[in-house]
């Protein structure tokens, strides 16, 4: 039972991630649900079929990447159009380490994060002098430059052929199926998302938000702008690198067209639709953007039998629908799904006496 109104009496209480016992229970139930969902069986068949499991896996990976870009764009206010390429840096690093050097996946993932963080910081250096629009253009340029390197640095990236990479293994057990690999991704995702949520409660996280809200005031308050901007680029790219590496290992294949400018746009769309400056919003956005194309293809398949022409048109219009949704969200729901989620929660908290 809790009462309407705000009864928190300490700052510590105010800053808790899971604020009420009810939420804690909910999160625990949700976690158990995520853990058992892939192994649930109904009449000898998996409840979650292969294709659906794959979607869930991609949602988890995208959540990591989306949280990463939200740290940079949502919390620190630095627009990045290069997230796709940074995912690529991570994927190629891990691919090179596991496939060409023959080292373990467990070296590859952190190395992917670190190398991408370095790359992100190099391309973040212009943020010292640039902001807003100029930074967006600089990161756009970094996207194209990195894409070009992926394609041309053949000794490392395999050029247009790409690289085939293995799935991870521990002590002789290989996580070869999607079902077992899911647990690795889930564990990494939980750790990284919790880290991000906690980061935003620390001095560093508050500095990020101060830089976003008013960088001149932030500087006067003693925040080293360059340091925190670069740090934000680094952390965000670390997330991108890990997400990219996990993505590469999930496909068992890495090639340059998986990380083009379209991917960067999808990730930006995730955090805009989900909600800028919100961890849960990033996850909502990832769910939305991964499910959207699948739903579209389900719908087009359903109408394909009866209206072949409409279905054909819809397939070529898939990106258009995607663009339309971005536009509609920006015009009608600029604060994203996280805001809507908050409203829904506030409504039910006081139900039925919402006024």
């Amino acid at each position: 039972m809790h009462y309407c109104g705000d009864f928190r009496t300490t700052y510590r209480k105010d800053m808790e991630i899971f604020q009420t016992p009810f939420i804690k229970v909910c999160m625990a139930v949700f976690l158990v649900f995520l853990l058992v969902l892939p192994v649930l069986k109904l009449k000898g068949e998996y409840l979650l079929k292969g294709a659906y499991l794959w979607i869930l896996l991609q949602i988890l990976i995208a959540s990591i990447g989306a949280v990463g870009i939200n740290i940079l764009t949502g919390y620190t206010g630095q627009i990045s159009l290069g997230q796709g390429a940074f995912l690529g840096v991570g994927a190629y690093t891990s691919a090179y380490i596991t496939a060409k050097l023959g080292l373990s996946f467990w070296v590859g993932i952190p190395a992917a994060g670190l190398v991408t963080a370095m790359a992100g910081m190099v391309f973040g250096i212009p943020s010292l002098r640039l902001k807003g629009l100029y930074l967006a253009i600089a990161t756009l340029a970094s996207q194209f430059i990195l894409e070009w390197i992926f394609l041309r640095w053949e000794s490392v990236t395999g050029g247009s052929y790409g690289i085939t990479i293995p799935r991870p293994s521990i002590a002789g057990y290989t996580f070869s199926t999607d079902r077992s690999y899911y647990y690795i991704v889930l564990a990494v995702a939980i750790v990284m998302i919790l880290f991000a949520a906690n980061l935003m409660r620390t001095r560093t996280g508050r500095a990020f938000m101060a830089v976003r809200d008013h960088y001149i005031s932030a500087e006067i308050m003693g925040i080293n702008l360059f340091k925190y901007r670069l740090l934000s680029f680094g952390i965000s790219s670390f997330y991108a690198g890990v997400a990219g590496a996990l993505f590469g290992h999930s496909l068992k294949y890495v090639s340059s067209e998986q990380f083009n400018i379209g991917v960067s746009i999808v990730y930006l769309a995730m955090i805009i639709i989900g909600g800028l400056g919100s961890i849960i919003g990033s996850i909502f956005g990832a769910v939305f953007m991964i499910l959207l194309p699948k739903l579209l293809s389900v719908v087009t398949e359903a109408v394909a039998a009866d209206y072949a022409n409409i279905a054909k048109l819809a397939i070529s219009f898939e990106h258009g629908i995607f663009g339309l949704i971005i536009i509609l969200f920006l015009i009608f729901e600029p604060d994203g799904l996280a805001h809507r989620w908050k409203m829904v929660k506030a409504y039910w908290k006081l139900y039925p006496f919402s006024y």
Partner: protein, 298 residues
């Protein structure tokens, strides 16, 4: 590397660069008047090229009429875009505006490929004569010359328009200070609409020119991405800068491509060179050659 080859590179770069200039001009007009960064500039070019193709080749309209109809179509399209998509976004943060134009670009791109498919289409008959002429001892196709002349003509017309016409002065006033402009009886709404119209028309004509030389396909929007190096080099809010920046980028990308091919045995530098220049310019001179310096140290 012979002098002949060098000259060849410079001239073909200049021609492609003049189209970059036209598109960059469209970009700068919108940015100057409305502070909107239009990521859909290349798509406006693409729509222009395809609509002209539809009139000219599919409906057999004579060229002058097809061009007029294309311009008319571009105007209507721009009015719709401005009223339906950009007007509600006034006052939103810059990331939202960037995203909304990216969304717009996806929509335009898929409409074009839904109607015309993705294969290369060729303008038939060609708009300009195909004969070769000699300039400084180099054989050059006459259509390149025409293309260059027309885009320079466009640039001059619009520079004059901004300098002397009433609407042009109004646009500059609105760009300078919207509140003051409004109190002087300039309708800022009309200025916004007008700048989108001009921008769509200029880009559309650029699309027709490039479509005539290379043929059109669904990757034509790549031209739109080249406006960023061009406008950053010239200065984001300078018309002269856009014109020069486009040509310089066109020449630079050709030259660096030629150099890397000859001396480093590295191909495909053309795609990436403009962006490398872009980063360099941003690092040393972020406001470009002619851009307004905002007095604000970051």
């Amino acid at each position: 590397m012979t002098f002949q080859y060098l000259l060849q590179l410079v001239i073909s770069g200049l021609v492609i660069g003049s189209i970059y200039s036209a598109v960059a001009l469209g970009f700068v007009i919108i940015y100057k008047a409305t502070r909107v960064v239009n990521f859909a500039q290349g798509e406006l070019l693409m729509v222009g090229a395809y609509v002209c193709f539809a009139f000219l080749v599919q409906m057999h309209v004579p060229f002058w009429a097809a061009l007029l109809l294309t311009i008319l179509f571009g105007m209507v399209l721009a009015l719709f875009i401005e009223r339906l998509i950009l007007r509600p976004m006034i006052g939103e943060p810059i990331i939202s505006i960037i995203m909304v134009t990216i969304g717009l670009s996806l929509v335009l791109r898929s409409i074009v490929s839904a109607i015309w498919g993705t294969e290369i289409l060729v303008y038939e008959p060609k708009l300009f004569p195909q004969e070769m002429i000699e300039i400084a001892g180099l054989p050059i196709s006459l259509e390149f010359v025409w293309c260059f002349v027309l885009s320079v003509f466009l640039l001059v017309v619009f520079s004059v328009f901004f300098k002397y016409s009433k609407a042009g002065v109004g646009m500059r006033a609105a760009a300078f200070n919207q509140q003051v402009a409004q109190s002087m009886g300039i309708s800022v709404k009309h200025i916004f609409a007008l700048s989108w119209v001009i921008s769509a028309v200029v880009s559309g004509i650029g699309g027709v020119l490039i479509g005539n030389i290379n043929g059109i396909n669904s990757s034509l929007y790549h031209f739109g991405l080249k406006v960023f190096p061009a406008t950053i080099l010239g200065g984001l809010d300078s018309i002269l800068g856009a014109a020069l920046g486009g040509m310089i980028i066109g020449i630079l990308e050709n030259l660096s491509d030629g150099f890397c091919k000859t001396y480093l045995n590295l191909s495909g530098v053309k795609e990436v060179a403009p962006y490398i220049f872009l980063v360099i310019i941003l690092m040393i001179k972020p406001y470009g050659l002619f851009g307004t310096k905002e007095i604000e140290r970051v």
